[in-house]
């Protein structure tokens, strides 16, 4: 049996784990990062392709959450976690949301102002940058459509680095930023190890049990343990370790609908990647924007229009995929399935959430028509395409009735932090109640959904908490 030892054991190498590792290693701690997935360098696969999903996404793609309205979600499973598979869009944390969390959950020394220095540091260290030059045809169309309706839209910045040699730039995910920093400071990264559970002596964790790719047991020993495996896996590890405290009972997500829309001329420029324009007039409760428009994804979102699919795909450059995402109130539950050691996620979108999603669908269709779309494939299976404003009420009603295909990204809140002990298993800095040396430092800590892409928020909070661990 293999044994590995360190001062600090960090479970998970996504944004939370990578930031924690960099801060602690640079302060001189002997850090060991354990990652279940493999290392796949940036650029080795086409983003959102089948190969990309097979190598970097948990379960090879979408995983269903169970409930009255089916919602599918995605998780990263690779070195760098979600930062390797998302669109790398950066949304600065919303100060009013942070302030509200501080008040509602009693999070000490937290809010827009206390987090500002960490936000600035993240923006600098992870090369948050605007798209150079024109953001592309789809973005320009969406911006024009939004402007005609009086709605504010912006080209969103990305975790991206541009230079003269490579004008298209390079994604600045964890494998390009905080993980190299951690390793340069002496941290050791072990990929292909799945942590089964933590080991305790009384109220102290002494390490964890993991298995390698061959299923062989590996014993991990450490003086401190930081669990950063993402909202679902962090909850599972703690549940399997026998830690109760309502872990996994308060999952939040950002549900969204996606639609394919047909335009009269070119809208799709794959070389740009995911177009960066987003409508922020309704932020943070609702965001509308562009999504991945590769041929396979276009085909997927045309499933509702099978008769037209081949005709439409033959001129794929006239098609784009767009989304409407909302800040839902619903809370889901993460449970470990005994024997299989896998997640069972249940999530029930409420009436209010569906009403908000219906309104978002209405606004998305409105702005797409204003942007010049000829037709929009309804996200409600079997429903007719939307070709004019008069078709939109039926779309909204279908979404409100829970008939639309809903996907979710951005999972959080399974181990919320705060001084409010009844609802928060972790204290104001991520330390688990009732244990002397175990912290959580990832999306699980966010007490509620921030509504926006949370990577910037997660990184800033992880930096704050890691510094606090150092005292």
């Amino acid at each position: 049996m293999r044994k590995l030892e360190a001062d600090v054991l960090i479970i998970g190498s996504g944004p939370g784990g990578a930031m924690t590792a960099a801060v602690l290693a640079e302060a001189g701690k002997h850090v060991m990062i354990i990652e279940e997935g493999d290392h796949v360098p940036v650029g080795a696969t086409e983003p959102y392709s089948l190969e990309d999903m097979a190598l970097k996404w948990r379960n090879g793609g979408l995983t269903p959450a169970f409930g009255p309205v089916k919602v599918t979600y995605v998780e990263g499973k690779c070195v760098g976690g979600a930062s390797e598979i998302n669109a790398a869009l950066y949304h600065p944390p919303v100060p009013s949301v942070l302030d509200a969390w501080a008040a509602e959950y009693g999070i000490d020394d937290f809010g827009g102002a206390p987090l500002a220095e960490h936000i600035r540091a993240v923006e600098h260290e992870a090369s948050v940058s605007p798209f150079p030059g024109s953001p592309g045809i789809a973005s320009e169309r969406l911006a024009a459509g939004a402007a005609s309706l009086g709605w504010k839209s912006v080209p969103v910045q990305r975790f991206w680095k541009y230079d003269a040699q490579n004008p298209l730039g390079r994604r600045q995910s964890m494998t390009e930023t905080y993980l190299p920093r951690a390793k340069a400071a002496g941290a050791v990264l072990q990929d292909g190890l799945k942590v089964k559970k933590l080991l305790f002596q009384g109220r102290r964790a002494v390490g964890a049990i993991a298995t390698d790719r061959e299923g062989q047991r590996v014993d991990l020993r450490a003086g401190k343990v930081v669990v950063c495996a993402g909202a679902v896996q962090t909850a599972l590890i703690l549940q399997r370790s026998g830690y109760g405290h309502r872990v996994g009972q308060t999952l939040t997500m950002n549900p969204m609908i996606r639609v394919a829309a047909e335009f009269g001329d070119r809208i799709n420029e794959p070389v740009i990647g995911v177009p960066v324009q987003q409508i922020e007039a309704f932020k943070p409760s609702m965001t509308l924007g562009c999504s991945n428009g590769s041929l396979a994804h276009l085909a997927l979102w045309l499933v509702g229009a099978p008769g037209d699919r081949e005709r439409l795909l033959a001129e794929w450059w006239r098609l784009g995929v767009f989304y409407a995402k909302v800040m839902a109130k619903a809370r889901g539950v993460v449970r470990n399935v005994p024997l299989f050691d896998e997640a069972f996620v249940s999530y029930k979108l409420g009436k209010d959430d569906l009403a908000l999603l219906g309104l978002a669908a209405e606004r998305l269709a409105t702005v797409l028509l204003a942007s010049g779309a000829r037709s929009i494939v309804s996200p409600v299976p079997g429903a007719p395409a939307i070709r004019s404003l008069s078709d939109i009420p039926a779309l909204r009603a279908g979404v409100e009735a829970g008939k639309a295909q809903v996907t979710a990204i951005h999972l959080h809140s399974t181990v919320p932090m705060g001084s409010e002990q009844k609802h928060c298993p972790a204290d104001s800095y991520g330390k688990l109640r009732g244990l002397e040396n175990v912290w959580v430092n990832d999306a699980s800590l966010l007490p509620d959904t921030p509504g926006i892409n949370p990577q910037g928020t997660i990184l800033a909070i992880a930096r704050r908490n890691a510094q606090h661990m150092l005292g």
Partner: protein, 123 residues
């Protein structure tokens, strides 16, 4: 008569879902998608993969591969509109993921992904 293999049965199911009118699919891409779909079922959470494998066996068994195309398509349609949600979910999974995998193969064949410029004829 040669025995029906899993590959043949899965390939037939994908053909019926993606091309119900029999207009024709790319043979190599269909074979690739068949392989990909088997991988996707294997890659599911195991507690779901067991159920999906059983359901697929149930659907493809009972003589599906022996039926003429029209009747196979009708059987899919019955499951698609069934009052039993698990039957609807089965069709949805194979149709959506089959579409995605097949067109991923087409995309790779035609180098649609991230081309420097559009194909011939694109503005």
């Amino acid at each position: 008569m040669a025995p029906v293999t899993v590959d043949t049965a899965v390939s037939l199911l994908l053909t019926d879902l993606l091309d119900p009118d029999g207009r024709g699919l790319d043979t190599a891409c269909l074979a690739g998608a068949t392989e990909d779909m088997k991988g996707r079922v294997r890659g599911m959470p195991r507690y779901m993969g067991v159920g999906m494998t059983a359901l697929t066996g149930l659907f493809l068994g009972s003589g599906y591969t022996m039926l003429p195309k029209q009747r196979r398509v009708r059987r899919i349609q019955r499951w698609r509109t069934s009052p039993i949600s698990i039957q609807r979910d089965f069709v949805e999974f194979w149709e959506k993921m089959g579409t995605f995998t097949y067109w991923s193969r087409i995309e790779a064949r035609d180098h649609h992904a991230y081309p420097a410029s559009g194909p011939e004829g694109a503005p």
